[in-house]
Amino acid sequence: MTLSGGNPTIRLQTRKGTDINNYQLHNIDITQYEVQMAKLSQQYLGIILRPNTITGMYNCHGMTFASRRTGINTISMQLITEDDFIQIADNEVLPGDVVLYINDLGEIEHTGFITSVDLPNRSKFTTMVLSKWGDGSEVIHAIFNCPYAKDNIQFVRCKN
């Protein structure tokens, strides 16, 4: 472990060996984050907060692409491609696939794992996601029921 800026960072690379900038934030004020997550539960009805997951050690991209080892500030399509992810159509999505929330600037604002799909209908509205909300909790939520950009949602799958 080394320091990048003031934050600890670890060696993290894509499958192709490109370094991925990352940071771990230790010692966040968990009590205050718990209060915020409780408020968000009132705002986004039906979400489930996974217990004991409030941490600055990793964020959504860190959960999705770095096995919860560290936080990744920016994830790009290039990095995702280097990890052999390929884009899949909405009607091909399965649990275990990765969802990308892309904002109006084309940035990947949020990522998470698909946890369940309404297979007969494959309606996006009933697709469930596990994602980490910043330094707050990991959250199980319906795909549109979250505070991130929802106009452009794409799905990718790792081809082994």
Partner: protein
Amino acid sequence: MEIEKNLNREKLKEIVTIANSATFLYRSFIQNQSVVEFAFSFTDQELIKRFYEKINEQKTLDNSTVIYAIIVALSLQTSAYSDGFFKNLQNDNSIKWNKEMSDIYYNKVSFNSFERKPELNYSIIEESNVEENDTIIFNL
């Protein structure tokens, strides 16, 4: 002096909690009316002074929220002081996204939805005084 008392701290704390990146935080803060009003209610020197006071306090979510609000407020002000502030911020490791915030200020990160115009000094105006080419900031 608690110059940040009019910030919508509850909403801003929520943003800090869920922010996965500096750009998300910056864009969300700048769309918050209370941050824009905060930016134009104080001078750059007042904001910088408060930043260094807060940075030496305990690192709570509440303090981090105020610190980021000050940074975003300073990014709306363009002066030698704020330029110097963002230059120093690049190497100030007291906050998580110091370098990223500095990069945003220096337009190393660009936003299509708005553009900082260094030659302009913005101020809040009444709706009745709006003229052609004034800038509108939507509180989304």
